[in-house]
């Protein structure tokens, strides 16, 4: 029994975060019974938040990163897993979202996926979770690529199993765009490897500053930066590289949409921040390429154009997908402004947006479970039949607009402060103006579901089952709670921002 004591397990926690879902995925492939597969996936998904929060808390207490050497090989030779304030925070967001939605999964997956594919569906879910956690925890540039592809391949399957045949096409288009993005990233990593001879993020950072003095190597480094930024922008759906996202989210099964909207793009954003800030360093990035300015312009374009697309959309899931593109714009805006308030706002919005958007998609998933459609014409008046579900939708929608008293307000507030700190007063105006557009699209669906006569399909619907309402209201509760007590989000995010901007390793 000695071997299993907490003292022996604790140092292994970073690797367990990836190994547990991988083994869980393996286990579910042997299970033909979909309930058993769901049970395994749920148990696995609920252990991960405990591990990631434990890691985050110990990093925040000591202020030192936790480094796990795989096979006990020292850093530049072996692959290390590294948990610092930033990665611990993003790990916790992904693990918590991954766990909270599991009670919702059972009925939703049973309704939308054929019997023989169900246990495989949970396999894919666990693989995707392992991949996303792996991207965030690894300290090795190439290992991040491998995890990126593990999560992406699982994601394509999760999307393709949607009932509508358009899901197949959406998954295909995502496969093409996602693979191009990942390949561009790996080209950039290859150029960095040729210049420095290392793949470890910390080691890369220390060798790059010496490498750029040589003009020939400097060109290679700047080219690598360009490839990596464009590749990851494709993955995180930065406008105008978001074309794969609306259809993928709209036609995927409800459970997959809720999970991916909260986590998949966030892991890509994390990787971008890690590479641009920890490896290249802000100063070097801004000096060589006008990445900051370009990303600010694209972010603002996303905030407006994607929001306007959302206003005219008549499929509720596609509407929320366009809104996701706009919200990613807010996150990248703060990262591009790159001051303390901007980074804090962006990182806080990673958690806030994950919580709010997952809640919104869970509400739509519950509607889809009862009505079988999320077209505005079919769900009109559904608020009278499913008041608890649609009330949760309305509260999360208020959060999305940035209403004071919700989590969405906090992150937008910090973004506005960041813009003022940098003297970009027009950006403050644009943040407020784009929020007003989100009032229009959330207002439009609210009008449809509450103030219209129930449609034929909606008239027969009844309130969603408890297993769907509990995760939904947990997330909605978090949206309101995090609007008042911001220690968990803003507190951690500002620690992470401080670390990134100081360039402290």
């Amino acid at each position: 029994m000695n071997a299993l004591s907490w003292g022996a397990v604790e140092p292994q926690l970073p690797i367990l975060l990836v190994v547990i879902p991988l083994l869980g995925a393996l286990l579910t492939t042997f299970l033909r019974n979909s309930f058993m597969a769901w049970l395994v996936a749920t148990v696995v998904a609920f252990t991960l938040p405990f591990i990631s929060i434990h890691l985050l808390v110990s990093v925040l207490e000591t202020g030192q990163p936790i480094v796990y050497k795989i096979g006990n090989w020292e850093a530049p030779f072996g692959i290390v897993y590294r948990v610092d304030q930033l990665s611990g925070y993003v790990l916790s967001v992904i693990a918590i979202i991954g766990a909270v939605i599991m009670p919702f999964a059972r009925r939703s997956v049973a309704a939308e996926i054929e019997e023989r594919a169900r246990s495989w569906y949970y396999t894919m879910y666990l693989l995707c979770l392992a991949g996303l956690l792996g991207i965030v925890i690894t300290g090795d540039a190439f290992n991040a690529f491998v995890f990126l592809e593990i999560s992406s391949l699982a994601t394509y399957v999760l999307i393709a199993l949607g009932k509508n045949r358009r899901a197949l096409l959406a998954a295909y288009q995502y496969l093409i765009m996602g693979t191009i993005g990942a390949t561009l990233y790996v080209i950039g990593v290859g150029l960095l490897y040729v210049v420095t001879g290392t793949l470890n993020f910390d080691d890369l950072a220390s060798r790059l500053s010496a490498a750029i003095i040589d003009p020939g190597q400097r060109n290679a480094v700047v080219t690598a930066l360009g490839f990596i930024v464009v590749g990851l922008s494709l993955k995180l759906a930065l406008f105008p590289m978001h074309m794969w996202l609306p259809n993928a989210y709209a036609y995927a099964p409800s459970f997959a949409t809720a999970f991916l909207a909260g986590t998949a793009t966030k892991a890509a954003i994390y990787l971008l921040v890690r590479v641009v800030f920890s490896v290249f360093g802000v100063g070097m990035t801004l000096e060589n390429l006008p990445i900051g300015e370009v990303v600010i312009v694209l972010s603002i374009a996303a905030m407006f154009l994607a929001s306007i697309s959302a206003v005219f959309e008549t499929n509720a899931k596609r509407m929320l997908a366009y809104s996701s593109v706009a919200q990613i714009g807010y996150i990248t805006l703060g990262i591009a402004i790159a001051n303390q308030a901007g980074m804090t706002g962006s990182l806080a919005h990673i958690a806030n947006h994950a919580i709010m958007k997952t809640a919104l998609f869970l509400a739509l998933g519950a509607v889809f479970y009862r009505v079988g459609s999320v077209l505005y014409s079919d769900i009109s008046g559904i608020g009278r039949k499913m008041p608890l579900t649609m009330a949760a939708f309305a509260v999360a929608g208020l959060g999305l607009m940035g209403t004071p008293g919700t989590a969405g307000f906090i992150s937008k507030w910090y973004l506005a402060v960041a813009a003022i700190d940098d003297g970009m007063y027009s950006v403050v105006f644009l943040i407020v103006a784009s929020s007003l557009i989100s009032v229009v699209y959330i207002g439009r669906i609210t009008e449809v579901v509450w103030f219209r006569e129930p449609s034929k399909a909606a008239a027969k619907a009844k309130e969603a089952p408890l297993s769907m309402l509990i995760p939904l209201w947990l997330l909605v509760g978090a949206t309101i709670y995090l609007g008042f007590d911001t220690r968990a989000t803003v507190g951690t995010a500002s620690e992470a921002a401080k670390m990134l901007l100081e360039g402290v390793q």
């Binding site: 045949r165 295909y172 496969l175 390949t183």
Partner: protein, 122 residues
């Protein structure tokens, strides 16, 4: 002359870039879903060359820690590309599986015909 020399000295890089661009071009320009996957595969394959070219040291041996072995090739890029090949195979097979399902659902693998059947899918 100087230009020709540079070209000859770096000819494998030019091949890499040519493959990369043609792969990307096929993905964008072709409407046939299978041809798009061929282009994607070409694009991914070019990356293997990008990693392997600088990994080859002329006259280099395997990394042996012993008297008499001075120059060695680092095996790491080869190992990395082995992983990338696996990723590429997985992507291609999943892509082809999706095309099979698309053919079953739409009866065609031409992008414009699919969009004609499902105007909103664009």
């Amino acid at each position: 002359m100087e230009l020709l020399k540079t070209f000859a000295a770096h000819y494998n890089y030019f091949i890499t870039i040519f493959l990369m661009i043609s792969g990307l071009f096929i993905v964008i320009a072709r409407g046939n879903l299978i041809k798009k996957l061929v282009g994607l595969s070409l694009f991914q394959t070019s990356v293997y060359l990008l990693y392997l070219t600088p990994a080859k040291i002329l006259g280099g041996t395997a990394p042996i820690y012993e008297e008499g072995y001075k120059l060695y090739s680092n095996p790491l890029p080869h190992v990395l590309m082995l992983t990338a090949i696996v990723v590429g195979v997985a992507t291609l097979s999943l892509g082809l599986a999706l095309v099979v399902r698309i053919k079953e659902a739409y009866g065609t693998v031409e992008e414009d015909e699919i969009f004609a059947k499902d105007p909103e899918a664009e």
